[in-house]
Amino acid sequence: MTPALSLEDITKRFPGVLANDRVNLTVAEGEIHAICGENGAGKSTLMNVLYGMLPADEGRIVVRGDEVHFRSPRDALAAGIGMVHQHFMLADNLTVLENIILGAEPTGRAGRIDFARARRRVAELSDAYGLDVHLDEPVENLGVGERQRVEIIKVLYRGARILILDEPTSVLVPHEVEELFRNMRDMCARGETIVFIDHKLDEVLEIADTITVLRAGRTVATVKPEEVSPRDLAELMVGSELPTPEARTTAAQDAVALEVKDLSVLDDDERAVVKGISLEVRRGEIVGMAGVEGNGQVEFVEALLGIRAPAGGQVLLEGSEINEWTVRQRREAGVGYIPEDRHRRGLLLPAPLWENAMCGHQSKEPYSRHGFWLTPKAARQRTRELIAAFDVRTPGPDVAAHALSGGNQQKLIIGREMVMTPNLLIAAHPTRGIDVGAQAAVWETLHRAREQGLAVLLVSADLDELIGLSDRLLVVFRGRISAALDPATVTPRELGAHMTGAAADVEEPQPA
């Protein structure tokens, strides 16, 4: 049988970086094909080449036996190839429906957009594949999970038969991942072929029919999930053995770094989304706040940072109330922040790395003097240091942030917070999109900083991250803390059940 797709000897150079070096990839009809590899290995680049976003310097692309030459995604779509990017590309101010049909609007008489027809078609698709979306909601109000479903429908709507998903699971919570996998299997059953990128090896082993591993721009192996263990896979990716996570020790001190008392917060529509949360984070302690997205975590974090005024309650930093403090006062007092979405709240994409490294610390040394005069030289130097310390794969501090691979952007953000030795780190999904090797390094860094007295509030939905990193676990559900768990004894299953509320009704809310 002719393969659905084969890429032969694809080479793609970015001036300064060889992103793909004679990569070969063959994808059989109707299969789920996973692509794995370190951050910066060239996975997204390869997919962008396949999708016609980037021209390959060398190599051939063959779709169902015919060689193709895509000059734009439009050509790729015409050949039935659609892609959902690592960083979503939706127009924030348009509704879900408008986004889905954008550029492929069905027109009625006199060239007007036939919204009724569009709506029917989109509803059909979303039913058929079980992809739940609110068609009339502006995209800016959506959480990541729903944004992703919108992106998938958008691609299906354009008639794609081969679907490329770049790190689809990195933004999802466990039950959403299950749902996505169900969707993926359904799609394959209906004849779609799926190529997807993923850093979570157990997920890859669960869903993929075939796995291709890239390292430093080259194909290093193509394997079947039955043949390998997660460890084998990790070693194929990284090219060396993974560090073993150190034993759990406790470093919690008595001093309380962050105390939240009965905090309530409203969202933009004035709905109460945080309903009286109380918690404490001690110095030297990592408190995991586990929860499915949309249970008030975003607003809670915004209130802690001072972006959103609380509707009630108190926030105390090192014992003093900071409700009235501005964001800058809090950040100057040593509050570090890793946003859940690096592109939205984290980076100045067109700006050079050194200007990104100082973002959030611009009023502090070494980035500025007296909080007024910038010191670009020192800032570049500091950026160079953090690039080295956090293994950000890039030529140097003057490169624009958008030229980094997704995982390397994330490492830059972690690095910029950690080099400033914060007292309190509010970290939302800190290792999202980071490869297994780098993830181990980040955990290691956080553990070491914790021993030095760093307090971390880890807001996440990633079970491994929550259980692996936290000293204590709190589950947030519908704006309240619904359970307190011990990460040493809790199983991922139990935690997942708590997060989805399946276990919540039996437990009494027990604030920390």
Partner: protein, 395 residues
């Protein structure tokens, strides 16, 4: 890692690339204007020749700088807003109002010369700033878009000026020369003829080089310092690039809007003063309008960069000052320069993109050289030897 950021291109290369866009835009506009001239039955070459030789006479150059000065100030005012995606259309109203109020205060005060001038300039800046702040406050408290509010404020300020002119001086309506009272000599900006003549011949035809160009230069330097070298300037740029990330970094969006509008208005308040303090010594009917709108074009042309804006302002000043010669000799209608200005802006926007891409390429190539030659342990085995084939400079 001892190699100091080698992938930053050398200064001369960066300058060449920076100049490439405006120069290309200029050439393109000449070409299009030529076609227009040929189509309208004129021969472009004598017209350009005359514009060129007349344009580079000392007196015309003086005129060019005089015209460029207010354009520069206006464009800087607009650019401050642009840097954070604020569209201050209101420079027009800000400078007209600021000019009449400054002129009036200047006429009524009697102070020693340097102080008198300083006060006038500060009054102009304060007025412009206040007027712009109205739009800023409306945006922050009521969410009114600054384009709407500044357009309204323009209309209001022009009406205010008319009302002030007529009521204050109580002249009969038919009279054509309503003016504020004359500014005493202590409040006039000294001209720079003496200084220029140190290096050149005497400036004839009664032309004077307005001293206000010095103020414009100082404003340009301050603008550059602010944007590139200060933390508030960084905050402003960050908000322009990604408001949400800027907010999380400690930049208050509301505060930044207020500060940007206040600064933009303060610079906008200066736009009319070169004329008032250097030529008319009063605010009257000969006062030049539409400089606020012209500033938007110049800011665009200069890509909000202080140096780029200076080039843009000088080019526009040159076209304006050299154009009248076309009519005198009947070579071509002088309106042809309006076509040229339009094309320049249009072409500049396109060439900037091309040049920027080129610069990124060159930087990346330089980066690959730096990586290939650095002995430091390679970040990724593939990346470094991969860089080698690419690192050979293109022929």
């Amino acid at each position: 890692m001892t190699a100091r950021a080698a992938y930053r291109l050398p200064a001369h290369r960066r300058l060449t690339l920076a100049l490439a866009a405006p120069v290309a835009a200029l050439i393109l506009s000449l070409a299009v204007a030529s076609i227009a001239l040929v189509l309208s039955g004129s021969n472009p070459f004598p017209a350009y020749g005359r514009m060129f030789s007349y344009g580079f006479e000392l007196e015309t150059l003086v005129d060019m700088v005089n015209r460029a000065t207010p354009l520069y100030l206006s464009a800087v005012a607009v650019a401050i807003g642009f840097r954070m995606n604020l569209f201050n259309i209101g420079v027009e109203g800000q400078y007209i109002l600021a000019s009449i109020i400054a002129a009036q205060v200047a006429a009524e005060l009697s102070l020693p010369a340097p102080l008198h001038l300083t006060v006038i300039i500060l009054v102009g800046m304060a007025t412009g700033s206040m007027w712009a702040l109205i739009a800023g406050v409306l945006k922050v408290t009521r969410g009114i878009h600054e384009v709407i509010s500044t357009i309204m404020l323009n209309a209001i300020s022009i009406s205010l000026v008319v009302a002030m002119l007529f009521r204050q001086w109580d002249v009969p309506d038919e009279s054509l020369n309503q003016e504020t009272a004359e500014i005493p000599p202590s409040g006039r900006m000294p001209n720079l003829n003496g200084f220029v003549e140190l290096f050149t011949r005497e400036i004839s035809k009664g032309r004077v080089l307005w001293g206000f160009v010095i103020v414009a230069i100082i404003i340009g330097i301050l603008y550059w310092l602010y944007v590139a070298r200060t933390r508030p300037g960084y905050d402003l740029r960050a908000s322009g690039i990604n408001p949400l990330a800027a907010e999380a970094s400690g930049v208050s969006p509301k505060r930044t809007v207020i500060v940007a509008m206040a600064l933009s208005g303060a610079v906008g308040g200066l736009v009319g003063l070169p004329e008032v303090l250097g030529r008319d010594y009063a605010y009257g009917l000969q006062f030049t309008q539409n400089l606020g709108f012209a500033g938007i074009a110049v800011a665009l042309l200069g890509q909000n960069h202080p140096g780029g804006i200076a080039i843009g302002a000088l080019v526009f000043g040159f076209l304006d000052s050299a154009a009248p010669i076309l009519d005198v000799h009947g070579d071509a209608p002088q309106e042809i320069v309006e076509i040229m200005k339009g094309i320049i802006i249009f072409a500049a926007v396109i060439t900037y993109v091309v040049v920027q891409r080129r610069r990124q390429d060159e930087e990346a190539r330089a980066a690959s050289l730096a990586m290939a030659s650095s002995e430091a342990d390679p970040p990724a085995e593939g990346a470094t030897d991969a860089a080698a084939p690419d690192s050979r400079p293109a022929p």
